[in-house]
Amino acid sequence: MLVALTGVEKTYASADGPQRVLQGVDLTLDAGRSLALTGESGSGKSTLLHLVGGLDVPDAGRVMVGGQDLSRLDDAGRARHRREGVGIVFQQFNLIPSLDVAANLSFQARLAGRHDPAWSARLLDRLGLTGLAGRYPEQLSGGQQQRVAIGRALAARPPLILADEPTGNLDEATGDAVLDLLLDLVRDTGTALLMVTHSTRLAARLDARAHLSRGRLA
């Protein structure tokens, strides 16, 4: 079992008092499998993803990834988890504006010390980015940017990809194409995928689905 959440709770402070976003979530995901996470806006999907990614820690409960309890790690340990244990694809604010496409794509892999030039080149090719390698993010379209982000998440060959509405900013056709690529690559590399999406149509294409509502999974 790659990911195992038990009794996870998370509360955020907000203007009108504490807001209990997650109220005891249990969830598991096996290596190489894919899971779609759906739910209303504000239901806590992103929050859950962030906990799995080691970006934040739960107030209660356990988040185990690759046999490690993330809450027990210190700042440096969680940074290492982000670097080596997962690849994250956000909806936006994703790429580093001062680096070109090639450098963006290999950035995390090089941080993690797992840079494989051949693999990066192959990713560039598969993502249709070879001709754009020297460009900067601001010179790319939204779909192109998202493809670079996917490439970056995969470049270090992490066991798990977390994607938070990776196509939310794209039009349907582009979104579908990007998603096809992501699913293809995940399948080919045997990487597990936890993806947040609003769309039941997209969710249907993954191995499993979970719905978040009122702080719990249904």
Binding site: H50, A79, R80, R83, I88, F90, S98, Q108, L111
Partner: protein, 801 residues
């Protein structure tokens, strides 16, 4: 609509109090330094004008004895009878206890208006004045005197020059014990037609054109120009802050602007509102700046006054009077500065497309084209500076050269940094290093202005520091040469001086004359000194240029020496003849004469006595063993009752000279420190505002597996790199500035050129200071970053900001 728009626009300032503070404070500081300097200059100028106006010598011809002595007032009566419009005046020194004042007797009934600085139009004032019961003094002079010792009642009058007591001519004759005598007659500007010739009526009197006393103003011009240049530099540095604060405020409100435009607000109206906003902020900041400026001026004025007195003998009041014109000019400048800083932003708003997507980070983007343009402008300015350095002369040209040099160097900094960082990024193998360098390069346009301000402040510090230290080193060495004699004595009268000389001669190794006479030289006030033929001078005198057998030729009266100021001003070369009234001789040597604005000639005592038989020969330099001085001092004091002030030993003169020197540069030093402070502030605000905008750039790096602590360390290193590069770059710029000051500005302003010495110790201190300032400025935002809770970092990904 307008009201709604206003509240939308103003909301920004309420939500960003730090930014409002930066803007107002930046502009206020800039205005403060500028208007402070202006207040000082205005005060000094008012003092000079007062001195000139009260003398009446500014515009009035005078009649006096050819030998400058007093003459009988019957000459006045004769002239009046012949129809000449003249008025009698008697001037002399009056002792008041320990101090003395210039006593000036006037006849208020016949004196031309220009010569009458006291308003006596009220008969109640006039009568006691005519009776000799009342005199007038500047209140500041009055404050330094013991009123019980004054021989008559004294009323304050603000328009009077310092140290001058104005009384009726009759009272002056009584007080100076010169009944019926006058020192000169003031000649009305418009005389009746058909007057008999002056020679016929008063053959002993000569008519003199307005005396060049007001020259004090022209002598000090260069000093004030120096101050003004400094004030301007500080203002420019301040404007950098304002520019970046306004730019940021505009950039952050881009979405607001767009929304307002989309809702139907015409672009012109929007720009109008923003202009009104800038005006309001500028007036607020200008007002604060004026207050601070008055404070700066009040703090610096005593030093400036001391400098002007020590260097030029110009009396300047130590108290500040603020004039409405000054306040208006200050506010005007604040407005102009604010609009200069906001122009780019307003222009962008005017051309803002309504529909383009908001791009808040565009402000930070390295616009390579912008950098190229900047580099081109910098090159142009530096080339211009080179041309001026090679061809132009004059003080204004010197300052233009300085301005071109500094501005060009400042403009070149961001492109240079950007290029350097790009180069380094290409050569770095580490992934983080690459990112840091590339990212820093993107920050250069955003930090550019603050870095330019820091660079300017550092360069100015290095430049002025090098100048002052070089000057000090030259000056102390020069003092040792010039003050070779151990003891200096001045008699109060000719008889006394002769008696002292007789007393000293057997006891001392040598008693050398210090005689001087005022003598216009090369069209400016100057003086002639006697120099004895003695090893004291042969071995020590600081000659810059010397012909063969220079001392022999001075001694035998076939040559003369001139000081560097006169040499440069007159263009005389060795061997050229200098004309004095009644004598002319070739220049055989040039000596350095720092701290003296006047031209000077030295010739043998025999020649001196022949040319200036009337000049008092009161001073003497005594060569003697230092241990013998106290006994000698006591002996003179016992025999002649000579006050201590007239017996000075070498050490005291040196102390005094160095004191004058230090005060002269105290003002530059203070302005320097203030400029550096302003630059530090600019850096802090830039780092703070950038830090607020940096979260979206740092959050992805954090998410990709870096700890916040590590990121914070990187940010700190980034600030250090930028500051270090800037400081490194400021060094050659500062040295170029020092060279310009020493070799061009000083020559034009004071007439002397100084050798340049290098002081690496100073550089190290300044470099450390710059680094410290940058780290200090960066530490606050960095600490904030290190403590940002993950939840806040995550917001970057969760919302579209």
């Amino acid at each position: 609509m307008t009201g709604a728009a206003l509240s939308a626009l103003w909301g920004h300032w309420r939500r960003h109090p730090g930014q409002s503070l930066t803007l107002v404070l930046g502009l206020a500081l800039a205005t403060a330094l500028w208007s402070g300097v202006q207040a000082i200059n205005a005060e000094a100028r008012a003092s000079y004008d007062r001195a000139a106006a009260a003398l009446g010598q500014n515009d009035l011809d005078t009649l006096g004895a050819s030998d400058g002595r007093l003459f009988d007032q019957s000459a006045y009566v004769d002239l009046r009878r012949a129809g000449w419009l003249v008025s009698p005046a008697l001037e002399g020194r009056l002792r008041v206890g320990e101090r003395s004042v210039t006593l000036r007797g006037l006849d208020p009934l016949t004196a031309p208006l220009a010569a009458n600085p006291v308003d006596l139009s009220d008969p109640g004032d006039l009568a006691p004045f005519l009776r000799g019961e009342v005199g007038y003094l500047h209140p500041e002079t009055l404050a330094t005197l013991d009123p019980t010792l004054l021989p008559l009642r004294v009323a304050p009058a603000l328009r009077l020059p310092l140290g001058v007591l104005i009384v009726d001519i009759g009272a002056a004759q009584r007080l100076l014990d010169q009944p019926g005598r006058v020192s000169h007659l003031l000649v009305w500007p418009n005389q009746p037609r058909g007057l008999p010739a002056l020679d016929a009526v008063a053959p002993d009197l000569v008519r003199r054109a307005p005396q060049a006393r007001a020259d004090v103003a022209s002598l000090t011009d260069s000093f004030h120009l120096n101050l003004t240049a400094f004030g301007f530099l500080a203002f420019a540095v301040g404007l950098f802050i304002v520019h970046s604060a306004i730019g940021l405020a505009f950039e952050q409100r881009r979405t607001t602007f767009r929304t307002l435009r989309a809702l139907g607000l015409p672009a012109g109206r929007l720009v109008g509102l923003l202009a009104a906003e800038v005006t309001l902020l500028a007036l607020l900041a200008g007002g604060i700046g004026l207050g601070l400026g008055a404070l700066v001026a009040a703090l610096l004025l005593p030093d400036v006054a001391a400098t002007l007195r020590g260097l030029y003998g110009a009396e300047v009041t130590g108290a500040l009077t603020l004039r409405p014109a000054w306040a208006l000019a200050g506010l005007g400048l604040a407005l102009a500065g604010a609009f200069a800083a906001a122009a780019q932003g307003l222009w962008r708003v005017l051309r803002l497309p309504v529909l383009a997507p908001a791009q808040p980070r565009a402000w930070l983007r390295a616009s390579d084209r912008g950098l190229v343009v900047q580099a081109a402008m910098a090159a142009l300015l530096l080339i211009l500076a080179g041309i001026i350095a090679l061809t132009a002369t004059g003080l204004i040209a010197a300052f233009v050269l300085l301005a071109c040099l500094l501005l060009g160097a400042a403009l070149a900094l961001p492109p240079l940094l950007s290029g350097l960082l790009a180069l380094a990024a290409r050569r770095t193998r580490s992934v983080l290093g690459q990112w840091v360098l590339a990212d820093t390069r993107q920050q250069v346009p955003g930090l550019g202005l603050a870095l330019m301000a820091l660079m300017l402040a550092l360069a100015a510090n290095i430049g002025v520091g090098t100048m002052v230290s070089s000057f000090r080193m030259t000056f102390t060495g020069w003092l040792d040469q010039r003050l070779a004699s151990e003891f200096y004595v001045t008699g109060r009268t000719q008889d006394e001086a002769d008696a002292i000389r007789a007393l000293l001669a057997p006891q001392a190794l040598a008693v050398l004359p210090i005689w001087r006479a005022a003598q216009p030289l090369a069209g400016a006030p100057g003086e002639v000194y006697a120099v004895a033929d003695h090893p004291t001078y042969r071995d020590n005198w600081p000659l810059l240029r010397a012909g063969p057998q220079v001392w022999d030729r001075v001694a035998d009266g076939t040559g003369l020496l001139i000081n560097e100021q006169l040499w440069r001003r007159s263009g005389l070369q060795l061997g050229d003849r200098l004309d004095l009234p009644g004598w002319s001789a070739p220049v055989v040597g040039v000596y350095s004469d720092y701290g003296n604005p006047k031209g000077q000639v030295m010739l043998s005592p025999d020649r001196f006595t022949a040319l200036y038989p009337d000049a008092p020969r009161l001073g003497m330099a005594v060569r003697i063993a230092p241990e013998a001085i106290p006994a000698l001092r006591a002996a003179i004091s016992d025999r002649f009752g000579l006050p201590d002030a007239l017996m000075i030993d070498q050490a005291a003169v040196k102390r005094f000279s160095l004191g004058v020197f230090e005060r002269t540069f105290a003002v530059s030093g203070a302005l320097n420190v203030l400029t550096l402070g302003v630059a530090g502030f600019a850096l802090l605000t830039s780092f703070l505002t950038l830090a607020a905008m940096r979260l979206p750039q740092l959050a992805p790096i954090w998410a990709l597996g870096l700890t916040r602590a590590r990121l914070a360390r990187i940010e700190l290193a980034r600030a250090a790199i930028l500051a270090a590069l800037t400081a490194l770059y400021a060094l050659p710029v500062g040295l170029a500035m020092a060279w310009t000051l020493l070799a061009v500005v000083n020559v034009e302003a004071f007439g002397w050129r100084l050798p340049m010495f290098l002081f690496p110790g100073q550089w190290a201190v300044l470099g450390a200071l710059a680094l410290g300032a940058a780290l200090l400025a960066a530490v606050w935002p960095v600490r904030r970053l290190a403590r940002t809770p993950p939840a806040d970092l995550l917001k970057v990904f969760a919302h579209d900001r």
